[in-house]
Assembly symmetry: C2
Homo-oligomer: 350 residues x 2
């Protein structure tokens, strides 16, 4: 983990400037493609390549269970986590459909599901533990377990970078996982739990009150250190959140752009950002989730989401959808004609 973090360097301004020069020479008024141009500049700077490619894409969907579901904070029973993992492997879930649409592979990782899958084709078995412990009664994980989750993400990112994948997306599956994500948001943004806790997959107003109380109690009991992201991840986090943080650290150390999905993924991104703020340069925020704590975390990192479609499914669905827009940014940069090539007047008269 430390080695990986040591390899992360900020992107260089000179690449941003060089990309800008090309963008300003394309047959369009300067800046008129807005955020597509910003995306193109950032891709050039991240990859340090004037003509980058995004031909191989992967969304990593980390699945894990949460002991805190004992407290009745989720709309669905925890059996749904392994059921959905099997749905991912059969290609029937939202992430499968949207990743196919984006031309991305879905890599399903069991990092902490409380279920024995046996030997299931297609599942990446990297189980660190069978679900976290109930953070309402003690730390969700030990520090070593939390580090192992992060290192699992790093290992996956390194492997896929080596295989020639050019862009990563993050995703999650884990019944109950908006609860640790809200807890992380509260501790690392400094906001009260009530301001960063939402209805997840759709709990009632009454259950929402209980969820906030559980988060407040867990923070009070475990006293996570806001200056130590690994401590926060261990005490009130989750395995899949650690895996996501690791993928981001690994992506940044390999100069691979990484698309952060919604609320849970952004909790992972915030952990990674607090471990090494330079990771921010490598992240794209896919979309603005309906979950109320999402915005506070994106602001803390300093990311502006690409899409805003009232989505709150997770799995990496927002990341897959945003990949198309990111690829659009790259394509206008690479494929549009310049004023000279097209014989179009570029002199502004007014």
């Amino acid at each position: 983990m430390k080695d990986t973090i040591g390899k992360i360097s900020p992107v260089k301004e000179e690449f941003i400037e060089k990309a800008q020069k090309r963008l300003d020479n394309l047959t369009k008024p300067p800046g008129s493609l807005g955020r597509l141009e910003e995306i193109a500049r950032r891709l050039v700077a991240i990859t340090e390549n004037m003509m980058p490619s995004l031909d191989k894409k992967a969304v990593f969907t980390f699945a894990g269970d949460h002991g805190v579901t004992e407290e009745g904070i989720s709309a669905y029973p925890k059996e749904v986590t392994p059921q959905m993992v099997l749905n991912f492997l059969r290609g029937g879930a939202g992430i499968n459909v949207l990743a196919r649409h984006a031309g991305a592979d879905v890599v399903v990782v069991d990092i902490g599901v409380d279920y024995d899958f046996g030997d299931v084709p297609g599942l990446l078995d990297m189980k660190v533990m069978r679900g976290t412990k109930n953070m309402a009664k003690g730390p969700a994980m030990t520090r070593d377990e939390a580090i192992k989750c992060v290192e699992t993400g790093i290992e996956i990112a390194n492997g896929y970078a080596k295989k020639g994948y050019k862009i990563f997306g993050t995703g999650d599956m884990g019944i109950g996982n908006t609860t640790p994500s809200s807890a992380i948001a509260a501790v690392l943004t400094g906001k009260p739990a009530s301001e960063v806790t939402g209805r997840g997959t759709g709990i009632s107003a009454e259950s929402l009150g209980k969820k906030v109380a559980v988060i407040e109690a867990a923070i009070k009991l475990n006293r996570p250190d806001p200056g130590d992201a690994v401590d926060v991840l261990a005490k009130i986090g989750g395995t899949e959140i650690g895996g996501i943080a690791g993928v981001i650290l690994g992506a940044a150390s390999n100069r691979v752009p990484v698309v952060i999905d919604g609320f849970i993924s952004t909790a992972g991104a915030l952990i990674a950002y607090c471990m090494e703020p330079k990771t921010k340069d490598y992240m794209f925020a896919a979309h603005n989730s309906v979950e109320i704590g999402h915005k506070a975390m994106l602001e803390k990192i300093g990311l502006k989401p690409i899409l805003d479609l009232d989505m709150r499914l997770g799995e990496g669905t927002g990341a897959a959808l945003a990949m198309h827009i990111i690829e659009a940014g790259l394509k206008i940069y690479k494929e549009m004609a310049t004023f000279g090539e097209a014989g179009v007047t570029d002199e502004i008269i007014n």
Copy 2:
């Protein structure tokens, strides 16, 4: 034109409800795919087909010139209109790149360019006039010319619906065309010109003042009747704006969804909407343009844009980009597994 308008009927609520039933049975919490679900419902209702397809897509980019450029209200000289048309035909413009990315064909229509293209392969020659007249000195078009522009759009929509195209996008090219679009916005939303006039392709603050004054003067001189959209189109509109309005009327009469690009396309959409408000049911607003008058027009029609990426290029670029999101909405609806198929528990416990 009247025949076409007579054929437009509102979409039926029963199709929305049937589509909702299927959406609620897919392996995701109800409503968790937000606007993708809304898009899917609308596609079903528009096409009156429980399993619609979007396999053939076309973006119609209407090009026309504007006499009002004489007043010095644009950043670029009007020669750029035919130059960009040739750029479209060679495949080097923003719309070409983004339409390829969306899997859409680009149909370039000369509806009113002040240039003789001769016989250029790929250009749809439907020229109604060689540029509009200067609306600062009199009406931009006669009523007959305006109707001919709308009928041109209808004819194209009918033709492409017949060829089996399943979704249309609108686009524009015409140096100076934010000026008539702002004038239309002012007259049909009732807002002062200064509130709906922006910098177009990038004019100075001084030129912006002049542009507002030109629009105010043109409205005062020509007295377009806000209750008669064809009168507004004729007196202070443009050929491409009329063509776009026609495509929308034609799309609605053929039950084909139509994606409205940015500011100029929305001026065309507002003309179509004022001619027949039922057209609204068939429109998708692609994105939120940087042009300040865009929002007022979208609100008047009652459309919420899909994307918000600080774009202001026109050509149909936003429409092409939004087509991918619209197709994503359809794919989740058609391709996701149901709870039953996937063996996932759909009982909500909390």
